[in-house]
């Protein structure tokens, strides 16, 4: 970012906080980029000739006579086919040792899609994981996060989902990711031979936190390029959105804004929605699907970040360690895919909706029986059968190491129903039981 001859250079900083600095300047546009002694910054507040800049790398070492140059544009990304297979930092600069990208320079965080121009999502994304495909089916154009504690293997599940899903591009936006996890993604993608369809924007824990505010918009701008220009199916992975929200809170705090719940800025809902709503099915065939991670603190989903996320996204996936089988499962109670109704029983076999609900209901009965058992009460014969069913169901369908197609999943469910229950206990429409009830092999 060399300065050109016509740019005015300011050298008088009037105020410095940990994340922002202010100066007197005129002719500055809102959201405009600037450099402060070479560090990138963005205009966040203008009052008369007082301009406040948010310095992405932090303000460490910025002197009051720092050189400030306004760049006359909002943050941009150069987009072209060359993005594929490359790794970038939060500013869109290569970090893989490769050359700079040549392409059209477009502003990130662009306009929203007109809702009447969207198409209703209708294509199933198969992952082979029954906890997802059977109970919480994903659809292209959907946005859904994993709600997980930091110690859970969400990145592994996400990488698996990304590689198994039939997509043209996978865009990884890393925010506050540990370097180890970053290398994990890099390795697993290159081992799978998928590097040519990956684009990665990475802010690791080693980079300044405020920088990561750019990552989702960078990733989604690249996604829009591939989905709109090439009509490709793009899967965007954002991990971890809680780190993103933390960065928002830092900036809003430095700007003396009144915090709302959990010290988050009052605009947290709109801030997150602007990102997630970029998930879309375009009428021309391209789509953007977002799978994100929201880390929880001690499983608390009432915290402002998961709470607001839940209201924005089309469902959420919970991971839980099932001590009965010693594996991590996709929790069928708390997980939800809101768009599954658009595909289940339509793109999958017609018994899918009823089988899915019946199995979860029976699993809930097992959970009740377990509570009874833990409280020292006698179990009924039904309770015992429900518990046995739950163990099989967990092991053969809910565990994250399952890899089946949906028809196989449904067959397994019917097999388990017949093994432990009578048709009237399973409560499924009669014409379906007539067709699919498996006579248990003697």
């Amino acid at each position: 970012m060399a300065t050109t001859a016509f740019q005015k250079i300011y050298t008088k900083v009037t105020q410095i906080t940990k994340a922002t600095c202010s100066l007197k300047a005129t002719g500055v546009g809102y959201d405009e980029l600037a450099t402060v002694d070479g560090k990138l910054a963005q205009v966040v507040k203008i009052v008369g000739d007082d301009v406040t800049l948010q310095v992405f790398e932090g303000t460490e070492g910025i002197p009051t006579n720092a050189e400030i140059v306004f760049l006359g544009k909002a943050p941009t990304l150069k987009v072209s086919e060359q993005l594929a297979g490359r790794f970038f930092n939060a500013f869109g600069q290569p970090i893989d040792g490769g050359t700079e990208i040549e392409g059209t320079e477009i502003e990130i965080g662009g306009p929203s899609v007109n809702p009447v121009r969207r198409k209703q999502p209708s294509e199933l994304i198969a992952t082979g994981i029954a906890g997802i495909d059977l109970n919480n089916t994903l659809v292209s154009g959907q946005k859904i996060p994993f709600f997980a504690d930091p110690d859970q293997p969400y990145n592994q599940v996400m990488a698996n989902v990304a590689l198994r899903a039939q997509t043209d591009k996978i865009i990884l936006g890393g925010m506050g990711m540990t370097n180890d996890d970053y290398l994990y993604f890099k390795n697993i993608f290159s081992n799978a031979g998928a590097l040519d369809r990956i684009v990665c924007f990475m802010n690791t824990t080693e980079n300044p936190p405020v920088e990561r505010l750019l990552v989702p918009d960078m990733a989604l701008t690249a996604a829009e390029y591939f989905a709109v220009q090439n009509n490709e199916k793009v899967l965007v992975l954002l991990t971890d959105m809680t780190s993103y929200a933390d960065a928002l809170a830092i900036v809003s705090n430095r700007m003396d804004q009144i915090p709302s719940k959990d010290s988050m800025p009052g605009s947290i809902y709109s801030d997150l929605a602007k990102i997630y709503e970029k998930a879309v099915q375009f009428p021309s065939g391209g789509s953007i699907t977002i799978i994100a991670v929201t880390t929880l603190s001690g499983g608390d989903i009432t915290h402002a970040v998961p709470d607001n996320t839940g209201y924005i996204t089309e469902g959420q996936l919970f991971l839980r360690r099932d001590s009965d089988i010693g594996k991590v499962i996709i929790d069928p109670f708390r997980s939800l895919s809101r768009l599954k109704q658009l595909v289940i029983g339509k793109k999958t076999r017609r018994d899918h909706p009823q089988v899915m609900n019946a199995a979860v209901r029976l699993y809930a009965d097992a959970a009740n029986a377990k509570t009874k058992m833990e409280n020292g009460f006698d179990l009924t014969n039904y309770d015992e059968r429900a518990l046995a069913f739950a163990k099989d169901y967990s092991n053969r369908l809910l565990a994250i190491d399952v890899n089946l197609n949906t028809t196989e999943m449904l067959d397994v469910a019917w097999e388990l129903f017949a093994k432990y229950f009578r048709p009237e206990e399973v409560n499924i429409k009669k014409d379906l039981t007539d067709e699919f009830w498996k006579n248990q092999p003697q």
């Binding site: 500055v28 809702p115 709302s260 719940k261 605009s267 809930a364 009924t380 014969n381």
Partner: protein
């Protein structure tokens, strides 16, 4: 001479202008940014400094940019041609916009200037009329719409002339009215109204009492909403707020349904766009989209317009109510609207109220709900706006400002519960906490006695009592164990489960079960009450569960069967046979 302003400060979508003349609170102005004109609304004035909220992104806006004031508040344009349209929060026609992406500063006209409407006069020269009087009628999508004297006109006018029946565009004059001073005023089919002002051109607003049928059993049977009533649906995410709202808007017996998608997911709006044109109004047999208007301010659209969107929707509803129509207005979600207020309040550095919401949140909510209602018009006809809002309580905690303030004003409360949703007991309306105040109105009691019979309210109350009792027993069983309570308790518990499974739970995705006409609801209630009144003989609690599970299964098959079909009758008979098998008193 219009007042002009110059931009002097920018923080996100709040801009300060220095003005050269008079401005009004809530006045609209346009700020120039390159070739775009950004619409903004005055929210605070301090001397020459005017704070405006911009309904668009302010990216690239600079100090010194010029603004021009319009002299009026945010208005909607009312006239024929609004049905089945998709508007944004400022009533721009979304279908008329170019391109896939929304462009900043693009405003489109909400009506059609070329289309001709077949006008039938309802007045003659010499008739005396006042604001909101019906001058004539045009049909839109088979709805008889009235052309009215503009709502803002004061005093009494004499009709000087009115055009003959025929086809006219919205801007063709259709009548000339003479005021008391003898001045002539031409009238066409279009009028404007500021969205933040309630339209009060009616004679009186009596207590509402007529059931508004929704086909949702847990509402119609247990917690009925009435024409002109207000209700709200709070619930944590994932408890089925939107599904319930869509079910109501699809099935409710209203003339016009207005859906304000306020800060919610765009894909949910797309669902309405996609499905409603394919669906049939169960009451008229016509396309559902024909009676629907959508106001879409999805969560990624500008925040300030989100606040406007609910007012836009309410004003359009008031326009139709003045024609003597039944309007159902749904707003999903009013919490997003409150959050938009919070964001602005925060940027203006106002002292915050609870949870950083503005201090006057309570007044804003109650004023808004107050605009709904059942009214008697000056010409003796009646019209109504039934308003149902959803609330998205932070963390699912109902003790937060938006829920609490809404509870004070809305008369029906449909509490969605996480626990029921987790058990897939949909709709997850908590049967104990939810209520409808209308069921206590003597007017309603009298009305429902005429529609069903005078035993109805008694039966509904019995169902509620039984559900409550069932819950208490479930808790006892949890503490004492299955064999720690008498077998009778198990029977009472399972009778309440029967009510839960057969009446409360309803499959919104099943073509038949999704809509239950009132007649069918009455039959179900009678059947279930009969079963509840039957004494059963059981020796062991295990038998109770098995027996009732079979019963529930049969009743559910009945719910899935087409009303009065052979299968339906067959299920009913099987249920009765099963009852007879175990009944102690036969």
């Amino acid at each position: 001479m219009a007042t002009k302003g110059t931009v002097n400060g920018i923080i996100a979508n709040m801009v300060t202008l220095v003005v050269d003349g008079a401005v009004a609170q809530n006045e609209i102005c346009y700020i120039s940014l390159g070739n775009d004109r950004l619409m903004a609304e005055v929210i605070k004035v301090v001397g020459k400094n005017v704070y405006v909220q911009v309904f668009e992104s302010t990216r690239g806006l600079k100090v010194g940019a010029q603004a021009e004031f319009t002299g009026h508040m945010l208005e909607v344009t009312l006239g024929p041609g609004m049905l089945s349209r998709n508007y944004d929060g400022l009533q721009n026609d979304l279908d008329k916009m170019d391109g896939v992406f929304l462009k900043r500063g693009q405003y489109t006209f909400p009506l059609n200037k070329e289309a001709k409407w077949h006008f039938v006069p309802l007045v003659q020269a010499g008739d005396r009329v006042q604001a909101a009087a019906w001058l004539g009628q045009v049909d839109e999508n088979f709805q008889p719409l009235k052309i009215m004297v503009p709502f803002g006109w004061q005093g009494v006018y004499t009709v000087k002339s009115v055009v003959a029946e025929g086809d006219y565009t919205i801007y063709d004059p259709i009548a000339v009215l003479t005021d008391a001073q003898g001045n002539d005023h031409p009238v066409d089919m279009v009028q404007k109204w500021p969205v933040k002002k309630a339209m009060l051109n009616y004679k009186e607003k009596p207590r509402p009492f007529k059931l508004l049928e929704t086909g949702v059993r847990v509402i119609d049977t247990l917690n009925p909403i009435v024409e002109g009533g207000t209700g709200f649906i709070p619930g944590p995410f994932g408890t089925g707020k939107t599904v319930l709202q869509h079910a109501i808007s699809k099935q409710a017996e209203a003339d016009i349904v207005i859906i304000a998608a306020c800060g919610e997911r765009a894909n949910e709006v797309v669902e309405i766009f996609t499905e409603f044109p394919e669906l049939v109004d169960p009451h008229t047999g016509r396309q559902l989209m024909e009676r629907t208007i959508i106001i879409a301010n999805t969560s990624n659209m500008p925040v300030a317009a989100r606040e406007a969107s609910v007012y836009t929707a309410m004003t359009i509803a008031e326009y139709y109510r003045a024609m003597g129509l039944k309007i159902l207005l749904m707003a999903d979600s009013t919490s997003r609207w409150a959050q938009a207020l919070r964001e602005m309040s925060n940027r203006m550095e106002e002292l915050p109220g609870p949870d950083a919401f503005p201090m006057d949140l309570s007044a804003i909510i109650s004023n808004f709900y107050g605009r709904a209602g059942y009214v008697q018009l000056h010409n003796g006809s009646t019209g109504s706006i039934t308003f149902i809002g959803t609330v998205s309580p932070a963390g699912g905690n109902l003790k937060e400002p938006v829920t609490e303030n809404t509870k004070k004003v809305a008369r029906c409360f449909y509490a969605l519960e996480q626990e029921r949703a987790d058990k897939k007991r949909y709709p997850a309306v908590n049967p104990i906490d939810s209520y409808s105040k209308y069921i206590e109105y003597p007017e309603f009691e009298k009305y429902i006695a005429g529609v069903i019979n005078d035993e109805w309210i008694g039966k509904v109350n019995e169902l509620k009592t039984r559900l409550q009792r069932g819950k208490e027993i479930a808790e006892q069983i949890n503490i004492l164990g299955d064999d720690g309570v008498p077998v009778d308790y198990h029977v009472i518990f399972w009778k309440s489960e029967l009510i839960d499974f057969v009446i409360l739970q309803q499959d919104a995705f099943d073509d038949i079960d999704a809509v239950t006409p009132l007649k069918r609801q009455e039959e179900s209630v009678n059947l279930i009450i009969d079963i509840c009144h039957t004494e059963f003989r059981f020796d062991h609690f295990n038998e109770v569960m098995d027996y009732f599970k079979t019963m529930i299964n049969l009743c559910k098959q009945m719910n899935y069967a087409a009303y009065e079909s052979e299968e339906y009758r067959d299920c009913q008979q099987q249920v009765r046979a099963l009852v007879a098998e175990r009944a102690a008193n036969v």
